[in-house]
């Protein structure tokens, strides 16, 4: 028996991730023709700060979708953590404590999702998180009613607007997290188990994997990262309302699926989702520069999504004799 599979250039380049790279380059070339202002280095740098806030949730969502699950409550978790942070600060707590509270609330919400899903196995993740999506958003409204809260200290603005050596702070934090999540998914035993559970949950259980513990952990991590998103989003906006981040769950899931992560579980890589984040971010920025209406953008994103979903079918059909 051979130990390793030989390298094949054909297999290497026939990956969805390369498709995303090509699309990414095309979008940038196209954009630079559309608008003379597009290719300014500072512009290309600063635009990342407009879309990276939700990208933090994309990272754990990759895990959830590889597990074959889904979490649609993330935007509500963002809203609730953000509102709790603003109210805690407004009530006189120091900002660092309010920030910790924001992350704790996010983590707790995620843990609650995980507990419901592993405790009541007959409920699917989509139903559980649909319910908690409503509950979390409802609590946010109950706490703040339909008002805004803010007046944060000046240094807090740094999170969303600051630079470290000319690089946006947000981008640095995102890269650190992305490397961490990629490492867990692709280089550790936990990542291997996540793929196993997504590919064949029954075999994973029969192999003695602690399937409940892993699901619990992944949903909790998603809650935590929603808290991180809340921090950056609130910092960028300067204040918060109970209706912030609405629609984020769909954008996040779109990015993950466009990144080549199959909703049937067990397939895809983290890098794909990261590429999809930047692809969609720059596409939106470029089309915005030349005043393309938002609806057209939605149609383009929708079409890309259809292609991404079709791709595995098209590729596997070719293999048949």
């Amino acid at each position: 028996m051979e130990a390793k599979r030989p390298f094949s250039a054909r297999r290497f380049f026939l990956q969805w991730e390369w498709m995303l790279v090509v699309l990414f380059v095309l979008v940038n070339v196209f954009n630079s023709f559309l608008s003379p202002y597009y290719l300014s280095p500072t512009g290309l740098r600063d635009v990342t700060m407009t879309f990276l806030d939700k990208a933090f949730i994309v990272l754990p969502m990759v895990f959830i979708i590889i597990l074959g699950d889904i979490d649609i409550s993330v935007a509500s978790i963002v809203a609730l953590s953000s509102v709790v942070m603003a109210m805690a600060f407004g009530a006189g707590l120091p900002m660092p404590v309010a920030i910790v509270l924001c992350l704790v609330v996010g983590t707790a919400c995620g843990a609650f999702n995980g507990w419901l899903i592993t405790r009541f196995k007959e409920l699917s993740a989509v139903i559980v998180t649909l319910a908690t999506m409503i509950i979390f958003r409802g609590i946010a409204y109950m706490l703040l009613e339909n008002q805004a809260a803010g007046h944060f200290p000046g240094w807090y603005t740094f999170l969303g607007w600051g630079y470290v050596f000319e690089v946006p702070f947000m981008l640095i934090v995102f890269v650190v997290f992305a490397v961490f999540f990629a490492w867990v998914l692709h280089k550790t035993a936990l990542g291997r188990r996540v793929y196993a559970m997504g590919s064949n949950p029954m075999a994973a259980r029969f192999s003695g994997l602690k399937v409940d513990g892993i699901r619990m952990l992944v949903f909790t991590a998603t809650g935590f990262m929603s808290g991180v998103t809340a921090l950056f989003l609130t910092s960028r906006m300067g204040s918060t309302r109970p209706n912030v981040a609405s629609g984020y769950e769909l954008e996040v899931i779109t990015m993950v699926v466009l990144g080549g992560i199959s909703t049937s579980g067990g397939k895809g890589r983290l890098i794909g989702a990261v590429l999809a984040v930047f692809l969609l971010g720059y596409l939106r920025y470029g089309l915005g520069l030349v005043n393309v209406p938002a609806q057209i953008l939605l149609i383009i994103i929708g079409l890309l999504l259809v292609i991404a979903v079709m791709m595995p079918n098209v590729l596997s059909r070719k293999k048949l004799p």
């Binding site: 028996m1 051979e2 130990a3 390793k4 599979r5 490492w183 280089k187 550790t188 035993a189 291997r192 188990r193 196993a196 590919s199 064949n200 029954m202 075999a203 994973a204 259980r205 029969f206 192999s207 003695g208 994997l209 602690k210 067990g266």
Partner: protein, 499 residues
Amino acid sequence: MLELKGIRKSFPGVHALQDVHFQLEKGQIHALMGENGAGKSTFIKIITGVYQPDEGEILLDGQIVKIANPREAQRLGIAAIYQHVTCYPDLTVTENIFMGHESTSKFSRSIQWKKMHTEAKALLAELGSPIDPHTEMGTLSVAQQQVVEIAKALSTKARIVIMDEPTAALTKRESEELYRITEKLRDSGVSVIFISHRFEDMERLGSQVTVFRDSRYVGSWPVAEITNEDLIVAMVGREITHLFPKKKADIGAELLRVENLGKTGLFGGVSFTLAQGEILGLTGLIGAGRSEVCQSLFGLLPADTGEVRVRGKLVQIRNPWDAIELGIGYLPEDRQKQGLVLSWEIGRNISLPMIDEFSGTWWLNEVKEGDVVKELADSVKVKAQGISTVANTLSGGNQQKVIVAKLLGTKPKVIILDEPTKGVDVGAKAAIHEIMGELACQGFGIIMISSEMPEVLGMSDRIAVMREGRLVKMLDRAEATQEKILEAAMGSATEALHG
């Protein structure tokens, strides 16, 4: 009225039926018996048009017919009722009865509910059943659902009704009710093929009994003229054609002691021991609770009552990783669903349960993983290009070897094999038996669940027979015979009367 001649059917690598004859008279209840895997199910599927025979002919009322699909079978008046009723639990009794042949109004094509309910009620009344046709199917008991299925057969004007182990899930009283209804069917001129493992069913209902064995027709007798002993001989009386490489292993210290293990509704009062180097065969009919006992030892179905001791120490097994920690490994019955991640390579499949061993400081040591996995795969002689070959491209036998390698990777002391050679070809079967023999010599304790009599007799040091959730008999290798095992597994007729 129905006659089958020289039916042959094979699937890739398996002869499912060879030269089978069958003759059914009008208004007859004909019992069909045989061990698990004797070919009864394939036979039914041929009559109901699910499969096409490779050879042979089917005659209905003396005319050759071709039953191309289940619809055609229905048109010819053939209906089948299965042990696990195939109904729509959320629909009403009426909807279930008329599924696929609803009565519709001529003009508007709309469904005539009133007419259907009335007809359903009449059909059920004909069978002497008080079931309300408006009830949801899912709220009925299994026995009642079977009555509805029979009513459904009648509604399609069936002349031949096939019942596949209908009494297996019924209580004694419910069985009596079913006998009554079946007799009613017969009296109205319907012919019935009744498949059962219970002698009681056959004696109570049948006028003729036909026996299959190893995909072949053995014989057909009037029920009154054959004894149960002769029937058992007919069902098992085969020569053992394969040699089993059972090596002489030294039976060592006790590894596992199970006392009074039970789980409500599945099994109870199960006690046995297992020693080093011993192969314990666990047999019985399908549904006797063999897999359930083993899954409870592996923590998949934690037991409610009883004790398990591993090397004398009382242990609690709540989930599979408890079991793996204690040195218990389980090879599941369904290779593809429970044993493998089919889309994965051999390598990742084997390393899955022991992946923690390859965790380095920073990342998985894939070089070490590859080496260990390769060694495991070679030790059971997996035939494949390499460990990066994807599992779903392997043959059944090789897939099974991969799962054995995966099992050995967890370093178990007690190995539970659930139907280890089911559906693998003869060569792979011999290879798996050889591996089992070697493992026993190395001091593993093995529990082997098997429905295949020659395998049980050839491989086991001791044989435990289960029936209806109980361990009813423990036989030593020397004293075990096919007849004794089958008698214990089925329960003799006298026992059934007193039980």
